[in-house]
């Protein structure tokens, strides 16, 4: 099994799917000749040609719109948003068109598009290259939203997303691109959409998260184990639809829940997870549900001290997890 960066796993998923299915194609800004600003699509235009790896104008609404149109006639487009921050011109296409096509056509039409967009900060990207826009799309029925934390999951989930008959938003974490390196199988495997994944078993606290903060949680859990605190860590993997059963089961294990995400706290994914727990697990709770999230500020600042303040870290997780364990 080759060691592979998170970004290479995403590239490999697209490559494999394009080789297997001629209806799969990529469109986006700088995805072709340049191979993507992060090199996510590097080499794909050489392999598949200009017709299947298309450089588009700087118009996100057009990227999404063209993808939706192509999907209408049987194609399976992968639309890349260069940064999720730039995705907002495409929200109308995504929310009002892609998400509603199956419903509106009474199941006659579907819209098998994947919109890939890098999320997250910690890369000195500042206001317009660091956002986590999950909460903008979260709660829109008709969309599936995926946010993998590992290279293995990134490949398996992207392949599942490409094959999925409905619109999928694939939020890849740009800080993970080069940071995460692990064994990724060469073979054609799928990680199912809608299934959460238990990363670590423990008895003292449950941590529920997705994307980058899970790495911090895993590191913190390792340290807390030295103190005798064991952590039960659940990776949501798919944030829409949420895996309610897995959430409930993970909560029942310890009765103490910490929900973590980099997107800001108010109205985030964590709020919905907390609501599910409150609805289903009241009598299993041994402590108030806690959330550790990005602060409710308009954006991530670019200067390093404030960026550090904004970003989650192992230490922040460690403090929050220990506090909850001691409660």
């Amino acid at each position: 099994m080759p060691m592979m960066e998170y970004i290479a796993a995403i590239r490999l998923a697209m490559k494999e799917e394009m080789e297997n299915d001629p209806s799969v194609f990529i469109l986006g800004e700088d995805v072709g000749v340049k191979g993507g600003v992060f090199t996510t699509t590097k080499g794909l235009q050489e392999q598949f040609g200009e017709d299947r790896v298309i450089d588009t104008p700087l118009a996100e609404s057009a990227i999404a719109g063209v993808a939706i149109g192509a999907a209408m006639v049987g194609m399976k487009p992968i639309a890349e948003m260069q940064y999720s921050d730039f995705m907002l011109p495409a929200t109308n296409q995504i929310i009002s068109e892609a998400a509603k096509i199956r419903y509106r056509s009474n199941n006659d039409w579907d819209c098998p598009i994947v919109v890939r967009a890098p999320i997250g900060g910690g890369i000195f990207g500042g206001l317009y290259h660091s956002q986590c826009p999950e909460s903008i799309f979260f709660g829109t029925p008709g969309l599936k939203i995926i946010a993998p934390y590992s290279a293995y999951d990134a490949k398996g989930l992207l392949k599942a997303a490409i094959r999925d008959p409905d619109p999928v938003l694939f939020f890849e974490n740009k800080k993970c691109y080069k940071l995460i390196k692990e064994d990724v199988p060469d073979d054609d495997y799928i990680v199912p959409i809608g299934k959460a994944n238990l990363l670590r078993e423990g008895d003292d606290i449950t941590v529920i998260s997705y994307s980058l903060p899970l790495h911090f949680a895993m590191q913190a859990a390792e340290e807390l184990e030295q103190e005798g605190i064991t952590s039960h860590i659940l990776d949501l993997r798919t944030i829409q639809p949420l895996d309610r059963e897995a959430i409930i089961e993970a909560v029942r294990r310890t009765g103490k829940v910490l929900i973590v995400h980099e997107d800001n706290k108010t109205g985030g994914v964590g709020a919905e997870v907390a609501a599910i727990i409150a609805e289903e697990c009241l009598y299993d709770l041994d402590a108030p549900i806690r959330r550790l999230c990005g602060p409710d500020t308009p954006a991530m600042p670019i200067n390093p001290p404030q960026e550090k303040f904004f970003m989650l870290s192992k230490d922040k997780l460690l403090t929050a997890m220990r506090e909850l364990a001691l409660y």
Partner: protein
């Protein structure tokens, strides 16, 4: 005794300096049960730079000590707990469950709520308002197993009974005990539970059998209790103490553990020698006039100020004045630039038995000779007493080393990184010297300068040393100390 009023406050390892991430507790100055005033030192710590005392941020009575002497604690970690408002001090401070049991009966008749001390003691002295607040999970489990959560020792925040406490209690056969205690036929068993809950209960009821439930619950706790606070889930590995071990094997060798300060000295010296290309110069100074000046004032100075009027005060004054003329001496190499420091902060090398430290005379250019003498005395004394603070060690821009104090006449100092130079002041010796073609006996001393050759060259340093020499030789019996 109203245990509900007392609160356990966590005391954490403070950030003693920007760069510090941890410190080693060298000595606890307060023991559990000791009264602690606000800002009163509670322990001594060794950092990689100095020994410092940690002042208390709370007023109250020392509770648990969560760190051992010799243990390295990361900044922000809890080192101990202080019980504020004193009332619960006996329980909080007593590690053995029998101690509160022995003390409580004497106090108890004074207050009808005294019986609540029983579950308190059972929880290992954890006091706080969370004792009787049960989470949905605890209530559900208790109901399911017919338990009264009040009899279960709480390990959570503020003595709260956690879900795990209930599960542990069940595992240890707590269910049957609790079931027995729930039976109203046993007069003594339900006591701790009932009393702690029912506040309006007549006092007589809670006094009915104070002793048996006390001991019952105490011994129960000592059996069942795995920890008495969350942080004690497992024992921290003890760090090796700083001590000299006699080598048992060959008996020819002695192993000395490296102290944090020794480690810092070692790495700083290596860093200085490897990074800084050292140059070296020496100059000879006629100290005769200075000796006379000092002899004239030293007794009176000692009488008036209570400190010795030492040569380094005069030397530092002369050096500082020379630095003012050659500010480049007061600089730092920053790869793409040289940073010249405006404040002249003189690091003074002070040797102790097992280390050398360089406390700093801040803004030495703004002090007169008397002021310098007093500051030198203060820093040297506090170095020997190991009471220097981090702040005393920081900000030095140029080092003066009184190597003459141990008889050296020539030395080649390693620059105090990242400064640009270090000057040593060697022994003053009487020697025949030719002055105006006549031989006279003069008090002579050598001054040696190590310089960062990236910043400084021979010419500028030669001029600087000449200026030091001029300044020292131009002292006269009329020079003012103040």
């Amino acid at each position: 005794m109203s245990t509900t009023n007392s609160v356990q406050k966590n005391i954490t390892m403070p950030q003693l300096a920007e760069s510090l991430v941890s410190a080693t507790i060298s000595k606890w100055l307060k023991r559990p049960g000791d009264t602690v005033d606000l800002y009163e030192p509670i322990c001594e710590v060794i950092t990689d730079k100095v020994n410092a005392e940690i002042p208390s941020t709370e007023e109250g009575v020392m509770g648990e000590l969560l760190a051992d002497e010799g243990q390295e604690i990361a900044v922000g970690e809890i080192i101990c707990r202080i019980v504020t408002e004193g009332e619960a001090s006996e329980e909080a401070s007593a590690p053995a469950p029998s101690a509160p049991a022995a003390q409580s009966p004497a106090v108890r008749p004074a207050s009808p709520t005294g019986a609540s001390a029983a579950p308190q003691a059972a929880s290992g002295g954890e006091a706080g308002g969370m004792r009787a607040r049960y989470s949905p999970a605890v209530q559900a489990l208790a109901a399911q197993h017919g338990l009264d959560p009040a009899v279960i020792p709480g390990s959570g925040m503020g003595g709260r009974v956690t879900r795990k406490d209930v599960l542990r209690h069940l595992e240890h056969g707590g269910a049957s005990q609790a079931a027995a205690s729930a039976a109203p036929t046993a007069p003594s068993a339900p006591q701790p539970a009932a009393a702690s809950f029912a506040a309006p209960q007549p006092a007589a009821a809670s006094f009915a059998a104070p002793q048996p439930p006390m001991f019952a619950s105490s011994s129960l706790s000592s059996q069942n209790e795995v920890r008495h606070s969350g942080l004690h889930l497992s024992e921290n590995p003890k760090l090796p103490k700083i001590e000299i071990e006699e080598g048992g094997r060959g008996a020819n060798e002695t192993y000395i553990d490296i102290t944090p300060i020794r480690n810092t000295i070692a790495s700083r010296m290596r860093q200085s020698v490897t990074e800084i290309p050292h140059g070296w110069m020496m100059i000879e100074v006629d100290m005769t006039n200075l000796v006379k000046l000092r002899n004239k004032h030293k007794d009176e100075f000692k009488r008036n100020e209570g400190v010795n009027l030492t040569y380094p005060a005069f030397v530092i004054k002369a050096v500082v004045n020379a630095i003012k003329d050659y500010p480049i001496m007061n600089s730092v190499w920053a790869v793409d630039k040289i940073i010249v420091k405006r404040d002249i902060n003189i690091s003074l090398a002070v040797g102790t038995e097992d280390s050398v430290l360089t406390p700093v005379i801040k803004k030495a250019d703004q002090k007169n000779i008397a002021g310098l003498a007093m500051e030198i005395d203060d820093l040297a004394r506090r170095t020997r007493e190991r009471t220097l603070k981090i702040d005393d060690m920081q900000g030095g821009t140029f080092t003066v080393n009184n190597t003459g104090s141990f008889g050296s006449i020539l030395s080649q100092p390693i620059i105090n990184y990242p400064q640009a130079a270090q000057l040593t002041f060697e022994s003053i010796v009487k020697r025949p010297v030719v002055i105006n073609d006549m031989v006279g006996v003069r008090s002579m001393a050598n001054f040696c300068l190590s310089l960062d050759h990236r910043i400084l060259d021979g010419l500028i340093c030669g001029r600087f040393l000449q200026r030091v020499k001029e300044n020292l030789e131009s002292y006269s019996p009329d020079t003012k100390l103040y």
